[in-house]
Symmetry: C2
Subunit: 112 residues, 2 copies
């Protein structure tokens, strides 16, 4: 892997807006496995409140990373899924997931 | 890219400890281009205070991601570099950097 020549082109800022926070990265992980309804997503993303989940989903949707389908049922149901951009984000984040699985024991033994 | 079967194996938590914060990800980016002395690192990582940079480097060092060489000069100089584990982390994060470069305009137009 060729090392970069300078830091100028090494900015994680844009992606960090999505994977830097606990809830957004958990939501992206869940949707990476396929579309999920709000209630099920709430169950899977342990510890998130309904309000926070709703807000995070709206932000991800506004950023074009997550899409929402509304089902005309009683009560109406909403299903969330990754947009094509969201899918490329999840794929780009996947090496970090694998890195974490490989190095969890080694790096988490230390305070950080 | 094959989608995961479940979210259980999709945890960014370990890596997020390193790339989730503004300073650590900037430090890793700088060191990805090669070893850097403390003073130069302080100049490059814009906005970081000496105290914060020192703490972040010590945390990265304690986690085994960054190494430190001390040069017996007057005054003594310290040079920081990625350890082999640090290099694999930077490499795993690189697809997200590229994702950010490709999608910055599209996703940053929205609040998140």
């Amino acid at each position: 892997m060729v090392r970069r020549q300078s830091a100028a082109d090494c900015d994680l800022g844009v992606a960090r807006a999505f994977i830097g926070g606990r809830w957004k990265s958990a939501i992206l992980c869940e949707l990476y496995a396929g579309p999920v309804r709000f209630g099920e997503l709430r169950r899977r993303v342990r510890g998130v409140s309904e309000k926070v989940l709703f807000e995070q989903l709206r932000e991800l949707e506004a950023a074009g990373v997550v899409g929402r389908a509304v089902f005309d049922e009683v009560p109406p149901k909403e299903e969330y899924s990754l947009t094509p951009t969201g899918l490329t984000l999840a794929q780009a984040a996947h090496p970090l997931v694998e890195w974490g699985l490989r190095h969890a024991a080694q790096v988490s033994a230390e305070p950080h």
